[in-house]
Amino acid sequence: MEEKEIELIEKKNKRKTTVRNTLLYILLTVWALVVLFPFYWMVLTSFKSYSSYNNEYIPKFYATDPTFANYGSAFTAVPLAKYFANTLLFTFATTALMLVVIILAAFAFARLKFKGKGIAFTILLSLMMIPNELVIITNYVTITSLGLRNTFTGLILPSVTSVFYIYLLKENFEMIPDELYKAAKVDGTSDLKYLLKVMVPISKPTIITITILKVIECWNSYVWPRLITDNKAYFLVSNGIQEIRESGFGRENIPAMMAAVVVISLPLIILFLVFRKKIMEGVSRGGTKG
């Protein structure tokens, strides 16, 4: 090959990579903007005053006259703080109860030997395929006939088990070597103490992942709370936002609506930014959406 020809190939290759990379960055940035834009728009709108928002035929990409008033009305015109507190309580109670239930069950499946374990586990696995929509009808009837509508008990109870998380935790427990269990038995440690003092601490990363995923799920849950509550005193944020949307601020006060949206989106976004690695790892290991 001639010197010139080689030079040409070299130049062409170099140009090709530069062009390709530049194009790639542009496309990725465009998508990043598509993702970020709704967030930007919601924050922006929440700082626009009611009148200036409605006067902008062509919406401005900045707030001419930023105001916190919308956040005030978000908390005063609708009981947003109450929704918030309800969601916190619901999320906390559901997650805590779930952890107890799944840790005990996962331990039994992972460590204990007992009659009927095989069949019990098979039933558990097959339950993973059951869609929520199929059982929610009866649950609605059950909770209603127990008189538990518009109570936290009714909200929480059907959400405390997760077949998938039992499975995930069981897999994790099983990776802890048998020798540890045998050693604990030799020392006369009880099963429960072994579970709490050895297995739970060792499996902490998985438990944290499960907790975070459950918190996200609880925070965003909409369908069940909608079915089971029609008293605003028991609304969660999702139902709250829907309520705001339907009858909200008396008139179509979009800036105030956006302020409410910002307020209820913020906790999860902060949680995400803090536990970014853990959440993404956990989701890729077993989270699904929808």
Binding site: Y57, P59, G116, K117, L124, P131, E133, V283, G290
Partner: protein, 296 residues
């Protein structure tokens, strides 16, 4: 035996909850779906039969919901899977800022569907004050405004698809990016030494290597899309039948509760129809998968 008893003791909470809220309902829903003329107040019914299924399958609202759901599935599953594959490919081949982009792309996953749906609504909505940002952009390119939220069916469907894709992409991008980065780089090196073209590397190496994950996404994507509901509520409000944008799941809930509610038997029949559809689609997927996917 004492040992067995102790083990079951650990399982009691799980069994109790699963029994009451998952296993019992499973049988119950089946019975409901065959009970004709169920009266919610008196808890009585006229007899057993297929009436509920016949009713649901001839209910125009259900047929509309069925149509909407199928369109949604057919559009969003391929588009979101393809788009996420492209984005993941891009993500894995840039040298810098990968983590930043990954973080941004994941954001929609952790947001409240209902809340962000409102933002989409105001972006697309045509009001007395303004045509909405999207319409203004369409105008800027010479098009004329479309009423996306209350206008023609295709416009409403388009907004729904866009929002659904926006919501489901983070999960898919995450899964595919980690699948792509777990492909041994030596395969690519070997291919480069052999002068393999980019397209050939993509189709003959990359795609087969990550095909199990692509298929996992297709299956979960189908299931998820068939269960679409809250995205539509976020955009069009609770009364989806009026908006003509109801989904199968929406139909189930409407039958159960709300203005048109109080018919658990119809809801059960609809839920079982949905289950059969999802089950059938999953089976088809699994059969196709056997033929197409390389199992490592």
């Amino acid at each position: 035996m004492k040992k067995d008893l102790k083990a079951w003791l650990f399982l009691i909470p799980a069994i109790a909850f699963l029994g009451v809220f998952m296993i019992y309902p499973l049988f119950d829903v089946l019975i409901y779906s065959f009970e004709q003329g169920f009266n919610f107040v008196s808890q009585s019914f006229a007899g057993y039969g297929f009436y509920n299924y016949r009713f649901v399958l001839s209910d125009p609202y259900f047929l509309q919901a069925l149509k909407n759901t199928f369109i949604l599935v057919i559009i969003t599953v391929p588009v979101s899977t393809g788009l996420s594959l492209l984005i993941s490919l891009g993500l894995t081949s840039i040298p810098k800022l990968k983590e930043l982009y990954q973080t941004i792309y994941f954001l929609p996953y952790v947001t409240n569907t209902l809340a962000v749906g409102l933002v989409f609504m105001i972006l697309f909505k045509k009001t007395a004050y303004s045509d909405g940002l999207i319409n203004l952009m369409i105008n800027a390119f010479g098009g004329s405004s479309v009423d996306f939220m209350d206008g023609p069916y295709w416009a409403k469907m388009m907004v729904t698809c866009i929002y659904t894709i926006w919501i489901v992409l983070p999960f898919k991008i995450l899964i595919l990016t980690s699948a792509l980065s777990s492909v041994n780089p030596d395969y690519y090196k070997a291919a480069r030494v052999d002068g393999t073209s980019r397209a050939r590397i993509f189709w003959r190496i990359t795609v087969p290597m990550i095909s199990p994950m692509i298929f996992y996404l297709v299956i979960t994507g189908f299931i998820g899309a068939f269960k679409a509901y809250s995205d539509e509520v976020a955009l069009f409000g609770v009364d989806l039948n009026t908006a003509g944008m109801n989904t199968i799941v929406g139909y189930i809930y409407d039958m159960l509760y709300g203005n048109s509610g109080g018919y658990p038997s119809f809801a059960s029949a609809a839920a079982l129809i949905l289950f059969v559809i999802v089950f059938a689609i999953t089976c088809i997927n699994l059969i196709v998968r056997k033929k197409l996917v390389y199992e490592g």
